[in-house]
Each structure stands twice: as C-alpha cells, then as structure tokens.
C-alpha cells in the first residue's frame, strides 16, 4: 500500500471503495511518457508520409491534430481510463464515484487541458492539483474525474510453519492489523530488523525468542489454534 491520500467512495451495494489518488509528479511522468510516444509516432509518420509530397503533409497535419487532441481521449475512453503513459505509471482516470470513465468525461477533461497548461508547462494545472483536496486539475474538476493508482496486490505469500499461540493481552482491531501487516511484510525485512520489531511487542524476551513468539501469535490470528 502506498502512503498517499485515500479517497473513499460508497458503492450502491454499501461497500466502501478506497481509491488512492495520484499526485502531480506521477501524473507528470505519465504525461511525459505519452508525449514521447506521440512525438515518436509523429516522427515515424512524418518520415513515411513525407515521401508522398503535399498530400502526405496534409495527412500528417490531420494526424498531428488527432494526436494532439484525441490521443488521450481515445485511450482513456477505450482502455479503462489509461493512456499508455498512465498504464506505465500504474494510474487511471475514473469518475469521482469510482465508475469507469465515459467518453464525455474524458473529452471534457482533455479539451480543457489548454486551460491547465496556461500559461506555460501546466503551471495552472499544477497549482490547482496542489490546492484541490482530491488532486484535480481544472479539467478534472469540470469533468468530475479523479486520477487514481491502480494497485496490484496478491495474497500469495510464504507460509512459516510452527506453533500458534493466542496473544496474552486483549487484542484491539488496531493491534490485529499491525500484527497481520507484520506477518505479510516480514519477508521484506532482515532477520535482525524482524527481531527488533518483535521486541517492541515483547520487550521482556530476548530478540530471537521475541520473534518466535510474535510469529506464533500472528499464526494464531491467521489460522486459529491447532
């Protein structure tokens, strides 16, 4: 999970969806990737169509126009709110209620891009993104859209076998979340760091015993007593 602004949406089924909003830097990078891609497409086509004389240049101008104005709209409307650049950065555009981006929504936010680009280098868009509580640029506000991170998480992880013991203190929901988070992330830490963390829970034990004990408790939380 990213340390980021989260935005909660309630679905008609009563489930709370939690979206993590994408900040200006990620979005600027996605924009940069898209820009490079568009320039590349344009350069290749300029080379090919340049050989067709004036007619080729006419076609090139039309394609240049389409790349400038419709590239983001077409990709966002057809590819679940993701241009290639956004896909590479793992972000997508959605409506503020979490539903997928419609063609109209995408068109509004992309037509108003010019206002966000005012006066230079998206300065106005950058400022409104920082001011807006939901990281929206002007186009997003008008279209009521959000740019969110699309997170990829699996639940497969290594199982440590061993004893499972209940905790010796009354467990709050917060404690349980912290312990389970430790269980899921322990492979990312060195053994020494794991012991250090375990001693926060069991300061009376020595490091390796504390870790054993902590693992036993998390196993109990996950699987119950054997």
């Amino acid at each position: 999970m990213l340390i980021d602004e989260r935005y909660e949406v309630e679905t008609p089924e009563g489930a709370m969806l939690s979206l993590s909003l994408a900040g200006p830097v990620t979005r600027a990078m996605a924009y940069g990737i898209d820009l490079l891609l568009r320039l590349l497409i344009f350069a290749v086509l300029a080379f090919v169509l340049g050989m067709l004389g004036k007619m080729g240049i006419g076609l090139l101008l039309i394609i240049g126009f389409a790349l400038e104005w419709f590239y983001p709209t077409l990709f966002e409307a057809l590819r679940h709110g993701q241009t290639p650049g956004k896909k590479a950065m793992g972000i997508a555009v959605v409506h503020a209620n979490g539903s997928p981006l419609s063609f109209n929504g995408s068109l509004i936010r992309n037509l108003l891009r010019t206002a966000d680009a005012f006066p230079l280098f998206y300065l106005l868009g950058f400022i409104t993104t920082l001011i807006s509580p939901r990281y929206q640029r002007l186009g997003d506000m008008a279209a009521n859209t959000l740019v969110v991170h699309i997170e990829q998480t699996g639940t497969t992880r290594k199982q440590h076998s061993g004893p499972a013991n209940p905790p010796d203190w009354p467990l709050s929901a917060q404690d349980q979340l912290a312990l389970l988070a430790f269980h899921e992330r322990q492979d990312q830490f060195s053994e020494a760091r794991q012991q250090e963390l375990a001693q926060l829970a069991f300061p009376e034990l020595n490091p390796s015993q504390a870790l054993q004990r902590l693992r036993a408790v998390t196993r109990y939380l996950l699987e119950g007593a054997r």
Partner: protein, 329 residues
Amino acid sequence: MKQARFEQQYRPLWESLEQQLEQLEALRVSRKKRLPLDRFVADYRQLCHQLALARERAYSLELQQYLNNLVLRAHRQLYRYNPPLADRIGAFFAHGFPAAVRRQWKWHLVSALSFVLSIALAWILVQQQPEMIYTVVDEAMLSDLELMYQPEDSGSSDIHAGREGEDDVLMFGYYIKNNIGIAFRTFAGGLLLGVGAIFVMLFNGSFFGAIAGHLINTGGHEAFFTFVIAHGAPELTAIVLAGGAGLRLGWSIIAPGQWSRLDALRLAARDALPTMYGVFALLLLAAFIEAFWSPRDFDATIKYSVGAACWALLYLYLFFGGRNGTRES
C-alpha cells in the same frame, strides 16, 4: 472465523470473479473462450459483503486491499454505460446540437457580438485610415495577402490558378489542425474567467475586419469574398459557438448562482459539451469546403449564391432544427 479459513472458503469465488472480469475488460473475446456471466452480479454482491466482513473483522490489510481492488474492478464493469453509438450520433445532429446551441443563446449572442463588433470596428478604422492595417499585420504578411487576393484582371498568381488536388489535401489538413485547434483552445480559454474566449473573439474579429477593409481599399475584395463566403458560414459560426461555450464555463465560476463553484463548473461543462461536438463537426465541414470548394474558380455570382445558401441553411438549422424532436436532457 480466522482469516486463513475465510480465504480458503471464498478463494474459488474470487478466482472465478477474476476470470469473469478479465473477459469483461478485454476488448473482444473469442467465442470459444467465452464464459457464462449470469452469476456475475450475484458474485459481485457477495464480494461486497466479504469486503465488509474483512474490514469488520480486521483481517490483514493486504487481504482487504485485494478485495477492495476486486470490488473496484467489478464495480467499473457493472456500472459502465455504452449505449449504441450510431443512434446517439443521429439523434445528436437531428436535435441535440441545435437545441444545445439555443439553450445557451445568451452566451453565443455575447460571443457573436464581441466578434462582429470587433470586425466592424477594425473594418471601419482600416477603411478610414488605410495605414491602420499595420497595427494588425506586418508588411511581409500583407504583401502575401495582397498577392493572394489580387484583382482578377491584373493577372496570374491568385489562389485559383495552379492549384491541384494535392494542394487541396494539404490545405485540408492545415485547416483542420489550425481551425479546430483554435476552437478547442477558445473553449478552454473560457475557463480562465471567460477572458481567454473573449480575447480570441476580439483578436480574430479585428484581424478579419482589418483584412477585409484593407482588401477593399486595394481592390482585392472580390477574390477575397468569393473565397471566404461559403466556408465562412460554418467556420465563423463555429468559432463564435466555441467562444460562447467557453464564456458559459467562465461565467459559471464568476457567478455560480445557487451552486458551489465546483458544481456550477461541472454543470456548465456538461451543458457546453454538446456544443463542442457540434463545433467540431462544423469545422470539419468548413475545412472541407475551404479546401475543395472555395479555391475553385467559378463566376462570382455562383460563388455568392452558394455562399448565401450555406449561411441560410446553417442558420435555419440552428434556429429551427430539432424543435419537434424529443427533448434532449
């Protein structure tokens, strides 16, 4: 129930939902691989329930995250909206577009007035004091213009001579890129409290007026007016409409009325969007006429009558089109 048992019990459901989602998210799926989707909605409701349980029982964040993402994906598929495109396009041109323009006639009137008045002002100024033309155009551009619209009798190199099909395509591309780009920027410029839209209207209006006035002074006006009259109808109208739509956006921020500024902006954008679709179509039409009809060398009477017909048809359409149709919401 402990988390491990919970996962074990419901994982088959989650995996089946993931497969269904992959199919729904793909652009097309071959007939053989297609899965039945009749359980999708029921599965999705169950999933929502399980997400709520996972949160309530404080199962691990990673599991909550996984379920949350799955709900998000399913939610997007369940609530997406794609009605058939062709019907909507037909209905749009039959009544949606003219109705949208009429609904916001005040903004289009303001935009048209600022455009027409700046044309008139520049025109009169340049006709009274010919040297005023240099305040809008520099000398090099002016001599290009004069060459393009030389009086017919004085000879060779006017725009009608020596143009081939290739040039038409080149100019078609140029008009599309240039004019539609200007219209879209005018619309977006309106968001800056309307200043951007008004600026474009005044700037283009005085430019056009000054050129027209100057060409009358130098006697090139027939070549000029026979060239612009036909495509001028959709082109100038579209620019005015884009300006009006932009003003609507800007005004929603200046005076949001009973809404918050954010809501007013959203409403304005939704209101103005049909006009912009229409502007796009009008400018495509204008580019087509400008590239393939306007440079053709016909008698001035023919060009003027075709041009007049274009203006008449367009305004009949905008004023009366779709008045009997079903109301567009």
